[in-house]
Amino acid sequence: MVASDKLKAYLSERAGAPVEINEFRQLSGGACQDNYLVAMSMQSHGGSTALTNHETCVLRTDKGGALLGSLSRAQEYQVIERAVAAGVLTPSVKWLSEDTSIVGHPFYLMQKIEGTANPREILKSKKIDFKKLAADIATNLAKIHSVEYGSQVLPFLDRKLRPGTTDVALTAVADCRRLLDELPGGYPGIELCLNWAEANAPVTDTIVLAHSDFRSGNFMVDVAGGGNLTGILDWEFAHWSDRHEDIGYIRMRDWRFGKVKNEVGGFSSAEDFYPHYEAASQTKIDPVKVRYWEVMGNIRWAIGAAQQGERHLSGKDKGIEFASIGRRVAEMELEAMRLIEGSALN
């Protein structure tokens, strides 16, 4: 994609002044999205003098067919606005357009923040105070979960799940089975784990907004500038859920990126993470529910990995990175089975 005259005209209209695009290049993106850096300059008039303002943003748009049940850009935009209002540290958004004639798909602009989300770079850094990072991430998670379910809040996410029931867990099990049925292959390990998950579905006390991809890789950290958390990224899977879903997810073995002894994201122990979450949310974490949702996280990622392999085979998005992930399903299946058995990490 290139910075077209149509894009320039749209940005000028929203800015209320002529906009010049000085730089436009692709950044690394998510599974279903493309991100582009846009450096703009625009003229404004301060009295008798003309001023030039410079602004650099990220343009976020779809990569082609959306997959994995992710949100549309318009829905993601509203989720981010709600998260920002709840005080979550995440890049703010503006100028949503659903006109597909401008860049080919709906898009919006996002504040550009400093740092890297590359988990390997973050986890090996000597400049980061990881206890502080754990506290910051835990506190931000509590802020996300402060957005409680209501039929008028983000109504497009509403699936009529009832608090005080097993609706959330059983719906997650049903969703996984539906996704499995769309795949050509058979995954007996996932099926065994889903049977366990169905039989052991926990009650959700309060239904909250879950980020649902809350893991190392989606935390932007200013490694060069002192190691502070600068933002939580990628809201495309956000939905109403049990708070323990996100806590189980950040613990998943695969998101520890080789630092398996650090059970929270490869950067923290539970002892250095949970108290900050509990203090900020005023809610006690239930370890039994965390384990349940860690199993579900592994199941969901196992299915996601199989889907990415199929995505390569279908020709929709060919690439060695997608093809190789299809061969990783067994890792998540065995990890889910280990968690269910309650065995030690080997």
């Binding site: 690394s28 590359n118 089975r177 499995l180 050509p184 292959g185 058979g186 995954y187 007996p188 390990g189 996932i190 099926e191 065994l192 784990c193 889903l194 049977n195 366990w196 169905e198 039989a199 080789g258 398996v260 690439g319 060695i320 990175e321 093809a323 190789s324 061969r327 990783r328 067994a330 890792e331 299946e333 065995l334 089975m337 269910i340 058995e341 080997n346």
Partner: protein, 130 residues
Amino acid sequence: MQYRPEHTDLLDAIQDFLIKEVLPAVKDNDAVAYKTLVSWNMLGVVSRELKNGRTLLEQDIAALAQMLGEKINPHEFADRALWQKAQQLSVATSKSIRRSKASVGSAEWSTVKEILKHNLQISNPRYGTD
């Protein structure tokens, strides 16, 4: 018949080339460096599959067929047909497990776990050692 070196030696040579020559040349481009490493890794998967895949797959098929009450002699299948048979049995086993609600502690659980361990011997033998 083909002359030496055999397929796995060729794959080893490509792996060496990727890690020793390509990776240092592209190290400043994160995305290409990452794909180079993934490619090196996948060549290892293919190499291990060529060496041991058939033996492990025959064991897996025998175990799946026994679970489903089917009589199959895996030795009778050519490589491609054996792979297709495994896919078919895996789908049938998945359906049967969903119907029976089998879970932890069942015979199916132990059998499937062994099959998954075979999978990792090919796809990621270092899993669990990190």
